[in-house]
Symmetry: C2
Subunit: 384 residues, 2 copies
């Protein structure tokens, strides 16, 4: 618990920790001594406080010494980061990929190489305490099997197990749905801090949803809840990678925007940026394309607001830029289709973590074990 406070809240005085956790100072002293001995935190004198008396020591997470590897498998890119205890991104790499089927073996070798590079550049004394992956599809969390990744052509790939073997770090790789992890990241460290009812929409080729209700991530029966990208918004619409037609992601994702703008020579995030730039410069086709995509995005948002009564909808991934460029359409559709009592209490916001929400979420997944049981986890990793 103490480590979690320091990890999520940043450096903090012993006195403040004692207040927040409702423990006395001698207990805090004993707990921090254990964590400091294990190399998880340091204690240091604070800067000038302006208060008289002996200052309370500040407990600081050992971000350089204790870290995780966070990986992100998007339909159009692979990304990796080394993230220190406390949530600092220490190193970051990204590689764009052509859209279409990814061979799992290729993905594994690219991700492994990225992870190894990052581990290699860390200080020799530093310890990697976990590996977490955000994946753009349906994931069975307990064993990391990808049940379905429509935009990269995967069905029932034992991805967590394969990556655990390939990395061979003595650490079990944890895999989660990218939008779910983005939702948690925005709630822990982003624009949704502390909210109880929050929807995070993550866009690339697909659109995924991470839904937090009553403070808990919505899992459903198998952990697959939140596939809002496959809500049909336009029954006569564009065909979707899932085999259906008119899904939200087929009407408001990257590919829809590129097609509507007639810019099929472009792909991925660069395409979205180019179209938004063109619209800003007055290009009519680009403006119309953003307008149209905004209308379908607004339909989807209005449906979700009626269904969930959230206090915030957060747009992440490429939906961040798409929303900013089509907010008028999204808001006007919400005004028409959203019921007053739910519409009046919802805020539409862009991701504070921007392109990193899913990576930050993957890092939190990777930190879960050490935060739950710090001393035993470190002892096990150190000894293996």
């Amino acid at each position: 618990m103490l480590l979690r406070h320091v990890h999520l809240g940043g450096p903090v005085s012993r006195t403040t920790l004692a207040e927040r956790m409702g423990l006395n100072r001698s207990t805090i002293l004993a707990l921090t001594a254990d964590l400091a001995a294990a190399g998880l935190v340091t204690e240091e004198l604070p800067g000038q406080t302006g208060k008289a008396g002996r200052p309370s020591l500040v407990v600081r997470p050992e971000s350089d010494r204790v870290y995780v590897i966070a990986l992100d498998v998007g339909a159009d890119r692979l990304a990796a980061a080394r993230v220190g205890l406390g949530g600092q991104i220490l190193d970051r790499a990204e590689t764009a990929r052509p859209i279409g089927t990814f061979d799992p073996a290729d993905v594994l070798s690219v991700l492994s190489a990225m992870a190894r590079d990052m581990i290699g550049t860390a200080e020799k004394s530093a310890v990697c305490v976990g590996v977490g992956v955000a994946f753009c599809g349906m994931v069975r969390e307990h064993d990391g099997v990808v049940r379905y990744g429509p935009n990269i052509g995967w069905v029932d790939v034992p991805f967590g197990e394969l990556l655990t073997g390939q990395l061979d770090l003595g650490l079990r790789v944890a895999v989660g749905n990218n939008a779910n992890l983005g939702a948690l990241a925005e709630r822990e460290r982003g624009v949704g801090a502390g909210l109880e009812n929050l929807i995070y929409l993550h866009g690339d080729v697909g659109i995924g949803g991470g839904i937090i209700m009553g403070g808990r991530l919505l899992g459903g029966e198998g952990g697959y809840a939140g596939e809002v990208g496959h809500m049909v918004v336009n029954p006569d619409g564009r065909s979707c990678g899932c085999g259906s037609r008119g899904c939200l992601e087929a009407e408001a994702g990257e590919l829809a925007l590129i097609a509507a703008a007639g810019r099929s020579e472009l792909a991925g995030r660069d395409a979205v940026e180019a179209i938004i730039d063109a619209a800003a410069r007055g290009d009519a086709a680009a403006r119309d394309a953003l307008h149209q995509v905004g209308i379908w995005l607004g339909h989807g948002v209005a449906n979700l607001v009626n269904i969930f009564n959230p206090s915030m909808v957060v747009f992440g991934g490429v939906l961040r830029e798409i929303y900013l460029a089509s907010a008028a359409q999204v808001r006007s559709k919400l005004a028409v289709h959203g019921l007053l009592a739910v519409r009046e209490s919802v805020k539409l916001r862009t991701s504070a973590l921007a392109g990193d929400a899913t990576l930050v979420g993957a890092a939190e997944l990777a930190f879960a074990e050490v935060l739950t049981d710090p001393l035993q986890t470190l002892a096990r990793i150190g000894g293996s």
Copy 2:
């Protein structure tokens, strides 16, 4: 807790209660003695058990002596029931209403008259311990204000307070959304017994959703979550009572079926039954109408299954009959638009409580106080 076991589980031996609650027999003895003295339960010898030894007394809820009044405000009917402790429906009345705006004063006087009649026919020694109302719209539960009832033309009506005053029983009338209460009723006493992830869809003129995820009813920020009837399934569709167009309830509710069958001389549940009968006798217009409504219902169900990954979707109210008559269309749409991993684990079922799900839910709402604090609640009511 003990009273809740007896209320939900029915008559049960002291021995079984001790096992289920993890308490010893002397504690059970003391608890049942208190409840029996207050007139909430009786204890009696069981029938022939076939076991040797002294039989364990059976604890039985005092259904005749302790009851609640449950009321249901649908867009096309008003219903009332007297429900005994243990959930037995002791008395029931219903009156159809023409569709359109209801004057709140009329609704209050009809409901009050129904409630008074039922209280009047109860035994003199019986005690009414609560009044609960299921309402077909958005309700602010803590004070019973109807925020929005699109199909009966209400906005911000302080319904709970008005009915409390009109009934003048010394009991605060509790008001809840009808679909939410139907969902709880199906989970406590119906087809969804014990399920953690369940969607209940209630149809009359409107379609409401009660969504239970992880064992908890989804409330959202203001308690208005579950307005699935205003999910737009057909952007070019029929206009809806909410001012929008193509909402699920505009495409798959009572009025859509009546219009599609060209039977506008009919109204309400009778109309639905007449159309289903006609289809069964081979009437092509009626069959086509059910087919069309089934397709839109299937669209809505597929969206909800993708979004929530529930283990069951339950059709209640008139949707029970509509689903039974159009199950092929609903299932075929689910097969096309539902993702495999969520589609394979969902069951589609009709309400086990049939027309009474929302009333049974309203009764549970009315019992909430006496179940939480039986002795104090009875003392307060008896003394007032």
